[in-house]
Symmetry: C2
């Protein structure tokens, strides 16, 4: 674990999973329209949305998908993780008041490069609404020890840390 | 065009492109942390962020990517378009105050199914920060005419609309 309580690459193994859940409220949709600039009528105009196949407003796909970002940042790998790549399939609408459960599950660990592939899914009342995959970069406790030793300008400590990293 | 000024599938051709731009402010980052639940220290803790390779806070990747959603919803194909799939590669950080220019360009048009593949890129000061591809569903003016005729319960009008759609 790093000092923010996030997992290091050494802590991760295939099959580990975690979930972060968030209710998507009316306020979230209005604020998301503001921060993104996406004012699609299907999200902000109930009279129009009622005439579509959705029969009412739906949340922005990227808003629901953002709960995956929270699962990655807050749970697995957790604080310190950096997003590199995300694929999203939007399968079903999310409506104001729906609670999105974003689950991330470790599919592959590339220890050498400090990268992890995550299966990323969002469900609402048990229905899959978003499916996808992410590639995330995480730190290494061994490499951090080397950096810290080097920062302390101690050749002996740096050499010891290097030996741990190579083991 | 539909009645919201969005393109129908019949209006789209390979190579068409459009850009939507938005400055990512401090306020956007704070609000995005709230709507997504993503409170990664790299986005909201300047003291921590200053110790990382980024040397300061960066915007959530999904926040910058959301400007693509606005380009799709507001410009091309425009109002009425529905997101089906998005792939994102996060290539460089976006900082508070940066203006993100999201450009969408038509790569393929599947007229029969009412689907369009878009190349989706975000740049900041000319540097590519996000690269990717989207699949979006759009309405068809021909199919809309059929629906409207059927809704009017006029067999003659529906048949005429069907002939136009088949042409």
């Amino acid at each position: 674990m790093n000092n923010l309580n996030g997992y290091d690459i050494e802590d991760l193994s295939v099959g580990m999973s975690a979930t972060f859940s968030k209710t998507i409220t009316e306020a979230d949709i209005v604020l998301f329209a503001g921060v993104s600039g996406d004012t699609n009528a299907i999200h902000i105009n109930e009279e129009y949305a009622a005439t579509t196949a959705f029969k009412g407003r739906i949340a922005h796909g990227f808003l629901s998908a953002s709960v995956i970002s929270a699962a990655v940042a807050n749970r697995l790998p957790g604080p310190g993780a950096i997003y590199m790549d995300q694929h999203l399939k939007f399968l079903a609408p999310v409506r104001p008041g729906d609670t999105v459960h974003a689950t991330v599950k470790v599919r592959e660990v590339y220890a050498e490069r400090g990268r992890v592939v995550l299966e990323t899914t969002c469900t609402v009342k048990g229905v899959l609404v978003i499916d996808g995959e992410a590639l995330v970069k995480v730190d290494s406790s061994a490499r951090r020890a080397i950096r810290e030793a080097a920062a302390a300008e101690s050749p002996a400590a740096a050499a010891a840390a290097m030996a741990v990293a190579a083991a």
